[in-house]
């Protein structure tokens, strides 16, 4: 008879197992597995004896008395979050894109002749190029600063990366929008780079505000392993060239997109 693994028995005990009925049937028939489960039970039962102090029947009232003087008259409305200074940049970029997309949409609807459709697409792509180029520049600067971060005082064992973490949170929101837009535009090469950048930004945004040199090194290695700084620079440079090129021909435009999609 094949016995249950420790993982299966713990999952069964903690109620997070999918094949519960099958394990129950096995336990009914298998003395060894029952004994193993009992050994797990004994440890957990001992842990259950650890006391939790009773804060008292009036605890809720005391908590209210302690926090009430610190509460503003009204909670923040959901949209006010976007007007916090550190989020204004992201909110501005997103608002600009929404307005641009709306205007382009109107232009496209008014005149659907092939020439004008092509022109609207070029405008849309140029807006994307400018916005994404800036976004990549900001991301690159943040990653470089993070890679060079050191304790402010050599005696300190922790490195404060809260500023980079805050910037990564903001960049993450912009990044998601640009990645989706790039996908809609069929620019899979750009979308792929943004996707990789998003994972790195996510790691940084979820890091603690202060890290040990070892943790920081792990973050650096992740950045390095993905080669994200190099990719960001290459794509950023290419976008800059495209931005500088005046009125590129649609055929040339497409061929560049296709080239990047191959990367």
């Amino acid at each position: 008879m094949k016995h249950m693994t420790e993982q299966e028995l713990i999952a069964y005990r903690e109620g997070v197992v999918e094949q519960r009925a099958a394990i129950s049937t096995h336990l009914a028939a298998c003395h060894e597995c029952r004994e193993e489960l009992e050994r797990i039970e004994v440890v957990l039962a001992a842990l259950d004896t650890l006391p939790v102090p009773d804060p008292g029947a009036d605890y809720g009232r005391r908590v209210w008395q302690q926090i009430a003087p610190r509460l503003p008259q009204r909670p923040e409305a959901w949209w006010q979050v976007w007007f916090q200074p550190r989020r204004l940049g992201a909110a501005g970029a997103i608002a600009a894109l929404v307005v641009a997309a709306f205007l382009i949409g109107r232009m496209t609807r008014r005149d659907t002749r092939p020439d004008n459709i092509a022109s609207a697409e070029q405008v849309r792509e140029r807006i994307l190029i400018v916005a994404v180029g800036e976004h990549l520049g900001h991301s690159e600067r943040m990653l470089v600063e993070l890679s060079n971060a050191e304790p402010s005082n050599p005696a300190q064992k922790q490195v404060n990366i809260s500023a980079e973490r805050g910037r990564a949170e903001d960049l993450l929101q912009e990044n998601r929008l640009y990645r989706q837009t790039a996908l809609q535009e069929g620019d899979t090469g750009l979308a792929s780079t943004l996707d990789e950048l998003e994972r790195v930004l996510l790691d940084v945004a979820h890091s603690p505000a202060e890290v040990t040199p070892k943790q920081l090194e792990a973050i650096r290695q992740k950045i390095e392993a993905r080669g994200i700084l190099f990719k960001v620079r290459v794509v950023g440079k290419e976008l800059q060239q495209r931005q500088e090129a005046a009125q590129p021909a649609p055929a040339q435009n497409d061929s560049r997109k296709k080239e990047r999609n191959k990367v």
Partner: protein, 218 residues
Amino acid sequence: MNRMPQSIESAQAIAASDALAVERTLAGERDAFRVLVERHSHNVFRLAFRMTRNQHDAEEIVQEAFLRAYQKLGQFAARANFGTWVYRIAANYAIDRMRQKQKEDARRQAPGPQDADGIEDDPVSRVPDAAPTPERLTQSIELRKQMENALAALSHAERTAFVMRHWEGCGIEEIAAVLKLNSGAAKNTVFRAVQKLRLALQPLVGTSTQARAMGTES
């Protein structure tokens, strides 16, 4: 599994009453938030204490969780459960706080009057009153210290996953959301926590008599 509601009806009634309190608070009636604080403080305290094993820390986490909940109330989706939501805020804040404390402890390094596990009082004062014999008393103190140490040795994610699942009866999805993991990884975290606790404590609690010595079994 203390967080489980008494019945579906009572859980629904509480959720409806919570939703009303949230609505009134958002409408500018600040005192309506008091209902939510008074109703959920005990549950949040229990979670925070089990995560930190320190009453002072737990009380601060409770206050901070409700302050943050109030500030973010506009982002709270009306369909969600306020109790679960504030619980999640508290768990996240407790994790941040544990990390911070770990760094501060590492910085200080010198052993102070506090134990590594953050328990300030004299171990003897923590002995259950009903401990029947000096032998059992000694066993009980030692076992309890070992259990506190074993919990403290878990990573923050493992301790959070264990507390939320084993003691608080939270669903895997809820744990996954707090730990920012997928549900498979959250399940593995629960597993790793129990495995480590077992490894540390099995030799001490090999027989059920020892568990009885803790005074929980009749």
